[in-house]
């Protein structure tokens, strides 16, 4: 089974801590400036989602969404959520821990691309 989005072990540990503290979570991929172009994690229900938000997959049972407009430009790539030291200024829940989720991308393989986009 192919996946559009996956998570590194390091990031998974942070995500587990956040789940223990906040309960159910979601990821949303942000666009735009400053702290944008980055994955953000929120308590489930905090962000209003509708059919314009594409579900890319699940990371440790947490849904990963991206707005459909942005998805148009991203759909040929595979994403890996990682975590680095740093300080974003968004409302993403990992920020007080002194770390920031980031995305590593690669092109989908031919097989993956056929599976997802054709």
């Amino acid at each position: 089974m192919y996946k559009r989005v996956e998570i590194t072990e390091k990031a998974s540990i942070i995500l587990k801590q956040l789940k223990e503290k906040y309960g159910e979570l979601i990821f949303h991929q942000s666009g735009g400036c400053c702290d944008g172009s980055a994955p953000m994690v929120f308590e489930k229900g905090d962000m209003y989602l509708d059919e314009s938000d594409i579900l890319l997959g699940q990371l440790d049972t947490i849904n990963y969404y991206m707005n459909e407009d942005q998805f148009e430009y991203w759909k040929h790539t595979h994403l890996t959520v990682d975590v680095v030291e740093g300080r974003g200024s968004s409302f993403s829940l990992e920020i007080p821990l002194g770390v920031r989720f980031i995305i590593h991308s690669r092109l989908l393989t031919d097989e993956e691309n056929t599976f997802f986009n054709q």
Binding site: H28, Q29, S30, G31, G32, C33, C34, D35, G36, S37, A38, M40, F42, D46, M47, Y48, N67, D69, Q70, Y73, W74, T77, V84, E85, G86, R87, G88, S89, S90, F91, S92, L93, I95, P96, G98, R100, I102, I103, H104, S105, R106, L107
Partner: protein, 499 residues
Amino acid sequence: MSYSKPIFKEKYGNFINGKFVDPINGEYFDNTSPIDNTLIAKYPRSKKEDVEKAVEAANNAKDAWGNTSVTERAAMLNEVAKIIEDNLEEFALVETCDNGKPIRETLNADIPLAADHWRYFAAVIRAEEGSATELDENTLSLNIKEPLGVIAQIIPWNFPLLMLSWKLPPALAAGNCVILKPAEQTPSSATLLMEKIANVFPPGVLNIIHGFGPEAGKPLASSKGVDKVAFTGETTTGQLIMQYASKNLNPVTMELGGKSPNIFFNSVMDQDDAFLDKAIEGAVLFAFNQGEVCTCPSRLLVQEDIYDAFMEKVIARTNAIIQDNPYDVNTMIGAQASNDQYEKILSYIKIGKEEGAKVLTGGNACKLEGDFANGYYIEPTILEGHNKMRIFQEEIFGPVLAVTKFKDEAEALEIANDTLYGLGAGVWTRDAHQLYQIPRAIKAGRVWVNCYHAYPAHAPFGGYKKSGFGRENHLMMMNHYRQNKNMLISYDKNKLGFF
């Protein structure tokens, strides 16, 4: 000439009700300099309770402040401008240390511009007037501008004092009290400003809260005690803030970034003169402020018949950028603002290469030596590709230029407008028709024509599409911070006759 890291106190407080106060729970966070990854100082890790104190102080101050005369308010704004100017070097040094940008930019752009925005709004409120219309011989419609009350402002880290100076003056000039949250990466210049202007405004009029987005930003944006939220940042946080504001039916203004096209038509190379020299610099402005600008001209569109000759000059000028000690006045590009930005930019360069973009110059992290070895430096990078690539569609917020060519006006416009964003754009040409028609056809709030990256007060700035809404740096912004009171007055002594 070179400066060195300024001296800071061990820790700083929030500025609430005219005084510096410790965070209620006593927690602080370490703020570091991206230049060398050393500690600057500790700043309050504020929580909801601190935000509530600031909101309470602002609400207590708003009635009296809203009734001060424009003469008094203008004088106070002018005083702030003077204090910034009188301490230009100190502010510039703190800003460079906190953000990583080179000292020559803070000395010549950030800080002088910041002072001017205060002065502009001081002038605006002395010159503008309400309106009165005689609807018929006995009926007068009178429009009086009233402040909204209490404003929450959340600003980013790329131009800390300048973004503060875009946000505060119109809100204060309009007669509002404000709670402003600087970005946690860059709390220093806002704090220095409060130290210098602590006694300029009455207590509670201007409050600064430090802390993290989920802990301090969210309670501020969703507070029932504020009447409007102004935000500069990215799309997801923008959507969240609009959601919170919708619960209070509060207005918002949003500036959410872009992916600005910078278009060069073939006539720029008709002559080898001062204008061509200016145009080449205009293309290289992608590296200004390390590319950490919402309007970074990060998509370069060059007409195909001049592409090779033009790019040769652009690459040569890019390679001449001096990347070194940001405290040295000769340095042209400094450090990225934080480690996560640094990692994000490198990750974008990687996907750009994977998507087939060709590296024309740069493409790597830049390792400086000595004290700066732990800082976050990236080579000015030019990647050649096409507009469907992710490096052409996403805001990298680094010194990374994505370049492509176009054959005619129609194709230039098609590429320019093929983006989710619409904040800025640049058009460069010697053709008088293109000078007008191309900017009109670009879906963006600011089109620089034969220039780029100028942000004078008095020229409205704001986005189309997913870049947000609201127009800053101009009289127009005043109405985003005000109500309109319409008094409909009858001078007719006679009754209507219905009852």
